[in-house]
Amino acid sequence: MSIVDEKAKEVDAADSPAESHCATSVDDGNGIAGLTILFFIVGFTASLFVGWIVFPKLLYSEKQQPIDFNHAMHMELVDNGCESCHFFRTDGTYSGVPKLAQCIDCHQEVQGDSEHEAVFVEEYVSKGREVPWLIYSRQPDCVFFSHAAHVQLAKMDCVTCHGHIGESTSLKPYEYNRITGYSRDIWGKELKNYLGLKTNTYDRMKMNDCAYCHLEETGRKSSVSTEKDGCFVCHK
């Protein structure tokens, strides 16, 4: 046998495994593609889970109000609805959360057997300290909001922006962004709020929500750049 034949045999021998190798590599290719897609789906789901559920959980911290408050019960006792306690000052500004002076009229002494009531009278009323309420609807410093324009002129209900808080029997925890310090009620709580969707007008109070309503309800397009309502209507 010549060297040439031997070489030829070697080549033949090398060829046939190569063919079989090719065949198996095609099979492997399908397997890898499947795995890639699987890993992609797993990774994608995991990143969505982290981005939409874990991160918001980490981003927001929770605080309890100093004492609990029963809106529903107070609504039964007052004559003038929300405005009995949340009223306009004579200069047109809005009083917002009531000061101790307003509560004192009825709460000089402990009424009922609520634990929170006792704490309220003992810690705040008798010591003359204001309750450090945490305000769910507080907007950033660059925002100007006129309650008078919305309630007196546009005749809007409190519920449109604040929801049914007047019917609640206790205060929900106050959630705030760890980085910005803003209340979570501004961004909205539900998953769909992150997707830009909302069911109720009061689900969220971001700039776009204000701008959308201003465009829909007033039709004003005084801004040259945006063809929406002017920036200085709400910004300061």
């Binding site: 306009f88 004579t90 047109g92 100007f144 309800e217 005084s222 801004s223 040259v224 200085f232």
Partner: protein, 262 residues
């Protein structure tokens, strides 16, 4: 919830340079009103922030013929052509905007990212950049106005015609069920601070406002009018050389004779 539209307004200013003594009370009042930051060392005036700035003009003649005129310069709130003022057109962030309802050029510091195109576009040097975060002397932060947001490092700011005063006056009027403001209900801080009464502020379209008539005075001129910026700040001067210094005239050219856009 249909809403009646507010009447279109063009808030503007008429500054009588014959009355201005150059005392600088307008600058002080403006800084205090608008939380304008300042530094320990303000010797570099290129980096000072002055929403309204008093310039000193001279007729360029040697003594004893030298004459001086002081010229306070707020933001001109240019209308340009249909609200396309120079700064608004170039802003890539919509941080500055022209409001057709009030004629005021807004500046939203939280929206601004500090590219400073607007400063380059403004022919009046009315815009200022915050090179540093504001640092208030101990205790002074308590005297800041809550009606004007404080700006941070890296954003542009400028005169807003004390727009927060318009917001607050509108809010008060809303409580009475009114949408329109009276002339005296909305006045800028510099207008009220001027001891000589040189600054008049109001709606240039409203015949009941003083500025409506003052802007038609034969002494009236605007700065760099021929650029087409259509500014809403008018100046009055009985001196020809002052009126002439409001624009770049060729020696052969006559002053005035500019078609008013308002």
């Amino acid at each position: 919830m249909t809403q009646e539209h507010r009447k279109e307004k063009k808030y503007g200013m008429v500054i009588d340079l014959d009355k201005c003594t150059g005392c600088g009370a307008c600058m002080v009042a403006c800084m205090a009103e608008n939380n304008v930051p300042f530094k320990k060392d303000e010797t570099d005036k290129l980096k000072s922030i002055t929403w309204i700035r008093v310039y000193k003009l001279t007729n360029g003649k040697p003594y004893p013929n030298e004459e001086i005129c002081y010229l306070p310069r707020p933001c001109m709130h240019c209308e340009g052509h249909n609200g396309h003022s120079p700064c608004v057109t170039v802003c890539p962030a919509i941080a500055t905007d022209y409001d057709r309802e009030t004629g005021i050029v807004s500046q939203i510091p939280t929206r601004c990212f500090g590219c400073r195109y607007c400063m380059g576009a403004c022919p009046y040097h009315a815009r200022y950049f915050n090179w540093w975060d504001p640092v208030w002397p101990e205790g002074m932060e308590k005297s800041l106005s809550p009606n004007v947001s404080v700006r941070m490092r890296g954003v542009v700011e400028k005169c807003t015609f004390c727009f927060h005063r318009y917001q607050l006056a509108s809010e008060k009027a809303a409580l009475d069920g009114r949408r329109e403001l009276k002339e005296e209900e909305y006045q800028t801080s510099c207008t009220q601070a001027c001891p000589a009464g040189a600054i008049t502020f109001g709606d240039l379209l409203n015949k009941e406002h003083a500025v409506y008539h003052l802007k038609k005075d034969h002494r009236a001129f605007r700065l760099l009018e021929r650029l087409g910026t259509n500014p809403k700040v008018y100046y009055l001067s009985s001196r020809e050389w002052v009126r002439r210094s409001g624009d770049n005239y060729h020696p052969d050219e006559k002053t005035g004779e500019i078609i008013s856009h308002h």
